[in-house]
Symmetry: C2
Subunit: 343 residues, 2 copies
């Protein structure tokens, strides 16, 4: 049976929450999809057309603190600046908070610190909504599993469903209309040598949100019909590559899947192009380096920045090629960012 | 019945040609596809997966003169420079000439002048092979129709089949295995206000030939299966737009079709990217101008250069936006380029 967001939430949190403390706080890692989520089967519940697979980025993500405020409107502070009520960001947060108010006149105060650029294709909304849901769980003491929290976060931002675990995470598309089978889970595979290199090409907020972009793609790309099978194939190959520790297969599949997603966007009307000249330059550098024998691949999300994929043994070579690269070791022991130490 | 190139030619030219003059010469316009040719159903005979539709560029193209030479190897002069026997260009020409030698020891001398850059996505091989076939007809006095010449030129380069007419030209994919139904013809529609603006972004020869690129696309793009229907739809809309003089429909369809072709290439493994940073900048300028009300579109072929589409009334505005644009009026009375005046 189709449900709306409130019905989904009510089915998980079945009694009025009584806060057991003044505020809740939590950190959630951002995640980078190796097999992309692009297109929804249900826009209200953020149910995806396809399953997807991501890698979490350890210490990179969002810290969120939620408590209560006086007054009539929610307060939202993002990276030390008050977010104005007239912004899309603010409205999106408040719409989500509306689903969780214990009483109609509850007013929230939300403070978020990120150590990644916001709305620049670095999944800031993924870690943002995941951290918010975890902070709310901390505040309200919900007796929910991570999979259930994943469903709640999905209602805010699809890819947020994947930000509850370290390492490789799969988010199942599911088939149910209420989406209760569309949540993420850990693949429970460690690959300590794996590295992700962030190439910050342009961290200005993007012109077209992923949400709008994927909707336009589904509606107008002449090739979208073949996307579900394309991702399904990529998922099968990627999961086997993880099990086999076959880095070439993992990297090649991730790069091809990202380019196929951007190909879909290019074929959308009007065309959606997140790529910039500098993005192309970096892609060509990767291809040249690979032609010369370096096991280096990239993936790209809804922004101009690239994320490099390589193994620890090639760190020095990658740094030589891209002096500005920010290297993440996804399987290193995670040290919580300093902003979260007040927890 | 499948045939090879020689059998196709023999079926059209059924007696040994006796040259009636010392040399033959001809000019052929280059052409820009509005509905693209990308992918072959038969690589030997250059039979396309889809029909395509082009506009010829009037005075822009190739002048070719063919005669006989002493010695043992063909002589090929392109834009006043001898082409070395070790180049792909030379080998491709000689392979084609092999199909037309009256005797085994015939040696040809071919001189070609183009007024467009070579191998930079401006269909130099299209006008090159068309001019060569016309020059051979002049030399050998073949009693062939333009449609039959179109078949001969197609054996050299698929898009050359479209360079025998001014204005709008359609090249039918055909269904026959021998390709005798895969030739081009004029749509016999004039649209005198139509303008094509050439934006020369980078005229260096491309790294990957269209021939190799389209083959790789057919073999590896996960979306290629939907390309034939995409082009078929674009053809229907474009032909109606030409009849209705509906410029918006013509331009929007051409731009979407070009981007869909480049999307296919982006989804090919390894990815094929002809686009450069400056190409993206020009695209974005076009999109901005259009958002501000200018009826301006682009198309892009296997190279970084863009071809703008607009109407004569907007010439001044387009020149203001793109100072470097070279404007072609495809339906103006064609003055043969000066290099051909020796005919």
């Amino acid at each position: 049976m189709p449900m709306n967001k409130q019905q989904v939430i009510n089915s998980l949190i079945n009694e009025v929450s009584v806060p057991n403390k003044e505020f809740g706080s939590a950190f959630a890692s951002t995640n980078i999809a190796l097999c992309k989520y692009w297109g929804k089967r249900n826009a209200e519940l953020n149910l995806p057309m396809t399953s997807s697979l991501s890698i979490s980025l350890g210490h990179l993500g969002a810290c969120t603190k939620i408590g209560f405020a006086a007054g009539t409107t929610d307060q939202y502070t993002l990276n030390n600046a008050a977010v104005s009520e007239n912004t899309v960001f603010y409205r999106r947060l408040v719409e989500f908070l509306d689903l969780f108010r214990p009483t109609a006149d509850t007013v929230f105060s939300v403070t978020t610190q990120t150590n990644i650029p916001v709305a620049a294709g670095l999944a800031s909304s993924a870690c943002g909504f995941a951290a918010l849901v975890k902070a709310m769980q901390d505040l309200f003491a919900w007796p929910l599993s991570l999979e259930q929290l994943s469903i709640l976060a999905r209602l805010g931002s699809g890819s947020a469903s994947r930000s509850f675990w370290d390492g490789f995470v799969q988010w199942d598309a599911g088939v149910r209309e209420d989406g209760m089978d569309s949540f993420a889970y850990s693949l429970e595979q460690e690959w300590s040598e794996l590295r992700v290199g962030l190439l910050h090409i342009d961290n200005k907020p993007k012109g077209c949100s992923s949400r709008e972009a994927m909707q336009a793609t589904v509606e107008t790309s002449p090739f979208y019909k073949l996307w579900p099978q394309t991702v399904a194939n990529a998922l099968t190959v990627t999961k086997q590559a993880i099990i086999d520790r076959d880095f070439w297969s993992l990297g090649a599949t991730a790069e091809a899947n990202a380019l196929a997603m951007h190909a879909l966007m290019l074929s959308t009307t009007p065309a959606i192009v997140y790529t910039q000249g500098a993005t192309l330059d970096c892609m060509r550098q990767v291809w040249c380096a690979r032609a010369e024998g370096l096991n280096l691949f990239f993936t790209q999300d809804a922004g101009p920045n690239l994320k490099l994929l390589f193994l620890s043994k090639d760190e020095a070579k990658v740094k030589e090629l891209f002096a500005q690269v920010e290297i993440v070791a996804p399987f290193a022991t995670i040290t919580k960012p300093v902003e979260c130490l007040h927890d």
